[in-house]
Symmetry: C2
Subunit: 197 residues, 2 copies
DNA sequence: AATACGCTTGACATCGTGTCAAGTTGCTGT
DNA sequence: ACAGCAACTTGACACGATGTCAAGCGTATT
């Protein structure tokens, strides 16, 4: 996929490292170049724009971290188990893409390409939610009176990167606690289950 | 509060109007000036920076829209009613501050002043969540095994502007539906209530 | 030895924010 | 009536970041 020249990969890795360390600070093209031990223009030779670099980075991370494999697993389960599996898989992946995601979200308001790319990803994520909801409906576990559309909307919203950020980053929650409570919350909303300690 | 010269108010109103109409697009200082029928520098005479303008705008909106009054109402209620009242009051206020909030959030990653100001507001909002949770605890309605801290964290997260944005703006939800479901979701999480259609 | 490729160097355009200095207008107090 | 002040205008400029352009340089391939 794409080409994988030495320099290109170094740039991607440097960019990733920067985004992961400087959590919060803005990573400039010149920073990336410096960190990759390459000239600023070399970066532009491989990526036309900053948005393109970040987008390529998400794909790069997807490959290196095997997103597909992670998410495919949840696809074999049915009913409630499928929901749990999906929340586990996606929830565990959030911290991995979070740094790039944050950078993309930050530039989304001003950069169309970045916005489209991120929306696209979130749309793909929504498919997973929709599938989980459908699996629930199939098993007759979807709460009475709850349509598949609003169910998907809410699940998608609950599992958003921003909610993970709020709980884990801002409130200092444990990743395990986050997963556990998201499962409970989703079940409560989708299946009208009671949440027990 | 602050001074209220004609020009200053015109700038604030113009800025607000722009943010409300151009939903999404970036509002530049020159745009604000043009819309207010004033020179760009006049804007800088009243507000040292863009962040300061936006922050002043939030306060201006708070005054004009009577946030205090709206939120104070919820403070007299107790137990479950207090939670409902708070969600109603805050939920109804989100669409009002959303345009400015969006602008502030957009510049938060690169602008310390903007970030601090927005964090401050969200902190104030958190107080409301905390108080609602305390009222619940006081009434013995807080779910067994749920501490006040995680309860507040989750309520705060659920009621975030971004979640409202996701459901109402992105998914096209009705404001009433948003309020209704947020109440149900909060009760489910905080009080282990079942959600019934 | 010639060529092509990948990278470097350094200059430059653009855009938005924020600053500065000098000029204009209109209101105020005496 | 007039000096003086405050608010606003005009136009120029610095800065930081992105993105572009052109020329040069080293090295592997043929």
């Amino acid at each position: 996929m794409a080409d994988a020249s030495i320099t290109r990969t170094r740039i991607l890795n440097a960019c990733r490292a920067l985004l992961e360390s400087d959590a919060g600070a803005v990573t400039r093209m010149s920073d990336v170049a410096k960190a990759a031990g390459v000239s600023r223009q070399a970066v532009y030779l491989h990526f036309k724009t900053r948005a393109e670099l970040l987008i390529a980075l998400t794909r790069h991370i997807d490959e290196v971290e095997h997103v597909e494999e992670r998410l495919v697993a949840s696809r074999s389960a049915t009913g409630l188990e499928r929901l749990d599996a999906y929340i586990e898989a996606w929830g565990a992946y959030i911290p991995v893409i979070y740094p790039v995601g944050q950078a993309l979200m930050a530039m989304a308001p001003t950069d169309d390409a970045a916005r489209l790319a991120w929306d696209d990803r979130m749309n793909a994520m929504r498919q997973g939610c929709e599938a989980a909801v459908k699996a629930l409906a199939m098993a007759g576990r979807l709460r009475a009176g709850l349509g598949e559309k609003p169910a998907t909307d809410m699940l998608w919203t609950l599992l958003s990167v921003r909610n993970w950020e709020s709980l884990v980053q801002d409130c200092g929650w444990d990743q395990t606690r986050y997963i556990k409570d998201m499962k409970a919350l989703s079940r409560a909303y989708l299946c009208a289950e009671i949440i027990d300690a």
